[in-house]
Symmetry: none
Subunit: 126 residues, 2 copies
DNA sequence: ACCTTTGTCATATAATAATAGTACACTATT
DNA sequence: AATAGTGTACTATTATTATATGACAAAGGT
């Protein structure tokens, strides 16, 4: 099961963040084809957002054939879900890195200090 | 002079994109301290957005002491821009790295890819 | 059959984002 | 003094985002 993480100060709408994380979750293998997603109500509670916000994200992905919904049963990753194009993954990675970089550097941090801190955080996770 | 580039389909509000690009421009050295920015009207025309949208971005940066405005003359990068007290820097570094790490990993990116991208961005700043 | 859980739909409300237009105040130049 | 160029302020309007409710429909278990 995927762990959703919202950034309420990013300026990106919540439903778009949900869409992104599902799409990239599939691309990165965190979400398997056919896997069931959290119910709209469960995810709404987990993310502390409205049911309609989650529903909007799911519905949009359903239109794109990335999700399949069975009313009364749940929402699933489509078996035929397309992979996010590699270029889009690279663009997204560069986008979030650029944004982070601008903030970090504006505080005067050096690239090596930043990387060292990131590695430390990563290694302390397990 | 900095080249602004908007992504109208990203979901991120335009005024926030302008804010981000100015901050990143300063951090990366594209914008020098004291340098004059485009006038609100000129930038509004260039970006094909409303005057008020640019004004909103400038005003917010002015509040944060990143920009200084002289009515009738123009808007400039502050000379004393964004120096963070030394004692807060370490906590801040860890904080923003943790936040960034969570977001990046939730997209399924690997730590080494992230670091490589950060290094690439850093080195491409000349 | 009944009930629960699921997704869906509809209405209303509020806040935010962006536009449009107008007017005003300040500064430098002529 | 007059003018052009600057930032600022204000009202109004529209679209988007998110919330709050309530009701309905479909699936599956009891």
């Amino acid at each position: 099961m995927i762990k959703f993480l919202l950034d309420y100060s990013s300026g990106m709408p919540i439903y778009r963040q949900i869409i992104d994380q599902i799409r990239f979750g599939i691309a990165s293998g965190q979400l398997k084809l056919g896997e069931q997603l959290p119910t709209v109500r469960a995810l709404a509670v987990e993310l502390k957002v409205n049911l309609n916000t989650v529903s909007k994200a799911y519905k949009e992905l359903e239109i794109r054939n990335i999700l399949e919904t069975q009313q009364g049963t749940g929402t699933f990753i489509s078996q035929t879900a397309h992979i996010v194009p590699e270029k889009e993954r690279e663009d997204k990675l560069r986008e979030i890195c650029t944004q982070f970089s601008s903030v970090a550097l504006s505080y005067g941090f050096q690239i090596e200090d930043i990387i060292q801190t990131l590695r430390h955080i990563e290694s302390s996770k397990k």
